[in-house]
């Protein structure tokens, strides 16, 4: 792992380091990647506002309309009756992470098409580290968005226990990592930016609606046992439940296990997909360069 994989043509330009990188070097690289992502996010005000508006539209309008329709019942982690707004808030946090994760995958495709990715990929650090750094950057940006949303929701009167806002942080982080890793894996499969619409239709919407983000799963089970099983196969289901329980200071172990497992699986897949020796990326890089 310590010997960085470098494309052959660069070997002549950059001096080859004989000693392995220290922790400090890794941190500098991580900082660079995270700062770039944050800068990009800050410079795109529209992106920030739209990332905030999307869940708020659901909270203000959708939740108001469905307040009575979906009725009340007590399911864990809730100890008493909650309003529909309270129920969907963890789901909307998951929605922000989902869209944000996919957006960072979109940015990977964009980078590849524009040739920016080369700057990242010629870095002498191991590929897995670069990918993880990129994901950490994506997750950091999503978490900022989630907390911005939670502040507005709090002002709207949708409140979780005060400590819940702290407990939810690790759950948001892990769920964000899983969704970013999924986005990363998908980005390796998309050839062109235009294909992102496919991601919307085939990943984001089914993932979001076939989950307990908007309605409790027992409701889905009532309607269709098959759909219920599909929901149980959806990793996003577990991300939402992990976040929901964390708000109330509880750990949902099944969700934690599934989310952690999926994170490792997707991350492993992305590392393999972006591994230059497998040829997957090189082929696409050529396409990107030609575009």
């Amino acid at each position: 792992m310590s010997a960085p994989a470098m494309p052959g043509k660069l070997a002549g330009i950059m001096p080859v380091r004989s000693e392995p990188f220290g922790l400090r070097h890794y941190l500098i690289c991580l900082k660079g990647v995270v700062l770039r992502e944050c800068l990009r996010f800050l410079h795109q005000r529209e992106r920030f506002i739209s990332s905030l508006v999307r869940p708020l539209v659901w909270l203000f309008i959708f939740a108001a309309g469905f307040r009575q329709v979906l009725g009340v019942s007590i399911i864990p982690p809730y100890k008493t009756y909650v309003l529909y707004e309270v129920y969907i808030t963890p789901g909307l946090c998951g929605m922000i992470l989902l869209f944000s994760g996919m957006q960072s995958s979109l940015s990977m495709v964009y980078d590849r098409e524009m040739g920016n990715m080369r700057i990242l990929l010629v870095s002498p650090f191991p590929r897995w580290f670069l990918l993880v750094s990129k994901m950490l950057a994506g997750v950091a940006v999503s978490i900022v968005q989630v907390y911005a949303f939670l502040i507005v929701a709090w002002l709207w009167g949708v409140k979780a226990p005060p400590l819940g806002y702290l407990y939810v942080l690790p759950a948001l982080f892990l769920s964000g990592m899983m969704l970013c890793a999924l986005g990363m894996l998908l980005s390796s499969l998309i050839k062109q930016l235009e294909n992102f619409a496919g991601i919307m239709n085939f990943v984001i919407f089914p993932g979001y609606f076939a989950s307990p983000a908007l309605y409790p799963l027992w409701r889905i089970q009532e309607a269709s046992p098959l759909l219920y099983k599909i929901c149980l196969c959806n990793p996003f289901t577990y991300a939402v439940e992990l976040i929901r329980f964390a708000f109330y200071g509880q750990i949902e172990w099944l969700s934690l296990g599934v989310v952690a497992g999926c994170t490792l699986l997707f991350l492993g897949g992305a590392i393999i997909a972006y591994d230059p020796s497998r040829g997957l990326v090189i082929r696409k890089q050529d396409m990107g360069g030609n575009a």
Binding site: A64, R67, Q68, V72, I74, K79, T80, Y81, V82, L83
Partner: protein, 323 residues
């Protein structure tokens, strides 16, 4: 040895640190003819006791030794020993007793007989009927002034609050309120009587000295049709500053500032919330939610619902032990 001492110390600390509000709540379950006994500290069911048919109104002696329960379809009031949770006797309530109130001295029980248009006064000690007072049609709500001199009964069909002198057992004043008055509660200083009207959807505040309505409180919950708001149970805090009103099928409890008569908050609870009771320390309010078969604990400091607990079928009334 030291380890064991340490464990004991922790155990002792744990025991003494347990919240002081360990009271017992008794909930009457209208449909399955039981009474649920609940620990208010752990918010868990302790025991379920079989009682008479259609138990509704429930109250407790001031020393906490006996629970009185209206077994409506058995046409009797049952006396339950709180130590053994066994039925130890009955009181001659007259037919179909629904709701009652115990006088401040704990000696007289005033019972509303829904089918006979009567209020029956019973001496608890001798178990004798002291008086039968004719009132309006379908009497239900019962309230007694803190000094014990005045009793108020509301009649559902007549839509009146009848003020009764407890010395002469005669109706002295009748005050017209909104349709289907269900419940009457005196403010702790005795200055006002609050009467809820189920169909009218209001709470009338009656001045006890003038015997006239001084304020009608209306309710509106965002997103709910007006007809679902049916005020029933009322509970006024011991300091007289806040009143809680159960809004029936609206599934909410309204919190009212008794100075301004403004509704400050609506608290979401279970379905068809019916009656309310404070713990003696006034820190917790318990609501009975008939259609969702549960009770909800509300923290009165924050007015937030804390937990809901499933009890028997169609919980109707609730009373909490004074100790």
């Amino acid at each position: 040895m030291q380890k064991r001492a340490c464990a004991f110390a922790i155990l002792a600390a744990g025991l003494t640190a347990s919240p002081a509000s360990a009271y017992t709540a008794y909930v009457s379950n209208e449909k399955d003819n039981t009474m649920t006994v609940v620990d208010t500290a752990t918010m868990q069911v302790v025991k379920t006791v079989e009682v008479g048919q259609r138990p509704r109104g429930i109250t407790i002696s001031h020393d906490g030794k006996f629970v009185y329960l209206c077994a409506s379809d058995d046409d009797t009031v049952q006396i339950i020993d709180t130590a053994t949770l066994e039925i130890v006797g009955t009181l001659p309530s007259g037919p179909d007793p629904e709701l009652f109130v115990l006088s401040p001295d704990g000696k007289t029980l005033y019972v509303a007989n829904e089918d006979d248009n009567l209020v029956t006064a019973i001496d608890v000690e001798s178990k004798q009927v002291l008086a039968e007072i004719p009132v309006g049609v379908e009497p239900e709500g019962m309230g007694v002034s803190p000094d014990g001199k005045t009793m108020v009964n509301t009649s559902e069909t007549t839509s009146m609050a009848h003020f009764i002198d407890t010395g002469t057992h005669e109706v002295t004043d009748n005050v017209l309120v909104d349709t289907r008055p269900r419940f009457a509660d005196f403010k702790p200083d005795g200055s006002q009587v609050w009467v809820s009207a189920e169909v009218g959807g209001t709470v009338s505040v009656i001045d006890n000295a003038k015997r006239e309505v001084v304020k009608k409180i209306q309710f509106a919950i965002q997103g709910l049709r007006a007809e679902t708001i049916q005020p029933v149970g009322i509970a006024i805090t011991a300091d007289g500053k806040k009143a809680y009103v159960a809004l029936g099928p609206a599934n909410h409890v309204a919190v009212i500032n008794t100075d301004t008569y403004e509704v400050e908050k609506y608290i979401l609870v279970g379905q068809r919330v019916w009656h309310l009771a404070f713990t003696p320390d006034q820190k917790t309010l318990i609501t009975t939610n008939g259609n969702s078969n549960d009770i909800t604990f509300i923290d009165t400091a924050t007015d937030e619902p804390v937990q809901s607990l499933t009890v028997g079928q169609q919980p109707w009334g609730v009373v909490i032990s004074p100790k």
